[in-house]
Amino acid sequence: MFDLLIKGGTVVDGSGAPGFAGDVAVKDGRIVAIGPAIAGEARRTLDAAGRVVAPGFIDPHTHFDVQLLWDGAAKPALEHGITCVVPGNCSLSLAPLKAQDRKSLVGMFQQIEEMPPEAFTEAFEWTWEDFAGYRDAIAKTLQLNVAPLVGHSVIRLWVMGADAQQRAARPDEIAAMQDLLRQCLEAGAVGLSTSFVDVDENGHPVPSRFASFDELDALCAVLGERGRMLQIVPEFYATDITLARVDQLAELSIKHAIPTTFSPLFDSAATPQNVPRVMARVEEQFARGARVWPQMQTRPIDISFSLLRPSLFFARLPRWVRVLRLPLAERLEALKNPAIADKMVEDAGPDGGATMFAELVVRGGDAAPAALAGRTLGEIAAERGETPARALINLSLEHGLDVAFLAASRGHNATDRIGAMLASPFMHIGASDGGAHLASFATYGDTGYLFSEFVRKAGALSLEAAVKKITSDTAEIWGLKDRGLLQTGKAADIVVFDADAIGRGVERPQFDMPGDGMRYVRDAVGVEAVVVNGEVAWAGGAYTAARAGVVCELN
């Protein structure tokens, strides 16, 4: 008897091959049969008629390190069809870490993830120092699979203490880091992450940024002992420096026989040559035998702001800039001054700011009434009998300026260009940042957006190619054993979805972080069931009690 039988779907197996009508049978966490009309009984059957049955999606760039300690599903990632996440990116992981260094790391995590402080004091008991201890702590309640990176910054912190954020390492310290990295890899780390741009909560560079090239080279030698991944955050805002990092990664990849990946890489109308130049260099380096995988996100970039802080969104309105750069008390007084406010509205244009402001969305999750969340400023202004510019000022004033506005899809938004980039065989789809930027924007639903925008709307990728990109390609790049394919003998990580509907829900605030902390999320659309290691983890719009996730084995 099978444990699970998924019947009557279109099997898109992750290899890129055309989908075919068939059933998928599962036993003991593994796929045991795939084919038409599989005979036999099962303890549970899922009807997949009219639906796609595919390998679970793999998200290679997340920051779920902390959340996994109280939420083994990394919600809402799992319900979007994600069955495996890679946390520990950007040089930061929760282990190895000595107890006395926890405060330092928490500050860095809060800067990157925007996680409320209660997440570190109330949501879990911090019992570990080494990587194996962290692995064991999350493994107890995993609902999805995890392939954790170990962070270069915490390795430096362990070996060098406070000096990690002040200087290059001595040879003896580099040797100690090598030993420590080796222990982490033995304990299940999928690789090492480092960053050339991140900062802590005080704006100081994170420890990895003080490393010499010799240090990185020595650590990559350890990665090379097992062929494990090096992930970096390059100076992505400068094309020429990113090109230099691509070359550097290529040298490390060839020298140590390791895969490397970097993120983010995104397209911009302001710098249209950025991605083409970087991809040309990537292709050159692949031709030399290097493995340098750029990661590109599918979702467009939104701009968000409130009047609590000066934003460059108003840079073309000098009077607004002058007022918004005033200290808070003076700013409030200025905005309340009718003469000044009238001038600001006047500056916004003869249409009362309709062109510039009407499409802004009130985000919610702040001091604004919840009923306004998700509505456009143009709609709200019309109800109030005000121009959009006046409504922006008054609505903000009524709530102590704590009203967040969103200008949607202002970057990385040229679907025709980005579709071709995502389809490139040298592009690794990822960089979701899942679990980070909690109070700034939702980092969920990128896989759904891949299908809705680039498969259905643009036709840039076939359904099969898109599935391959986020399943078997990812598993192969990262060396995840038995993941990413629907084949007999492989792990039964499966997603059942409606190819005509899969997408991402609207962004909305949700107060489910420790300490009633707020984050922005997106609900899944069109995903009907998610299976992790043979157990149904999500179906019919609800999570199950299954806890079948594991820390991934590696090739």
Binding site: N89, C90, Q111, I112, S195, V197, D198, V199, G203, P205, V233, E235, F236, Y237, A238, T239, D240, I241, P264, F266, S268, A270, T271, I301, D302, I303, S304, F305, R309, P310, S311, L312, F313, A315, R316, P318, V321, R325, R410, G411, H412, D433, A436, H437, S440, F441
Partner: protein, 86 residues
Amino acid sequence: MSAQVALTAVQAQPAPGLDDAVVEGAEIVAGHDGAAELLVRLRHGNGAQSAQSLDAETAFDLLRAAGAASLDGLVGQSWRDLIKEL
């Protein structure tokens, strides 16, 4: 990731001999972290072009240093002179 876009970008300036860059243009772009950023286009003395992204705080300081009331006021100014003021 949380990038220190501002000063890192400024410090990553070209080698001596290319330090006579002037601002050719400036525009607001969507930054990776969901904030508006200032993209400054530079033309160097040898004809090469490059771009620098600045976060809000640094960009406003740059406008102040330039004595510019708007983005257009940056055009034609010496990049080296501007960043000395930051």
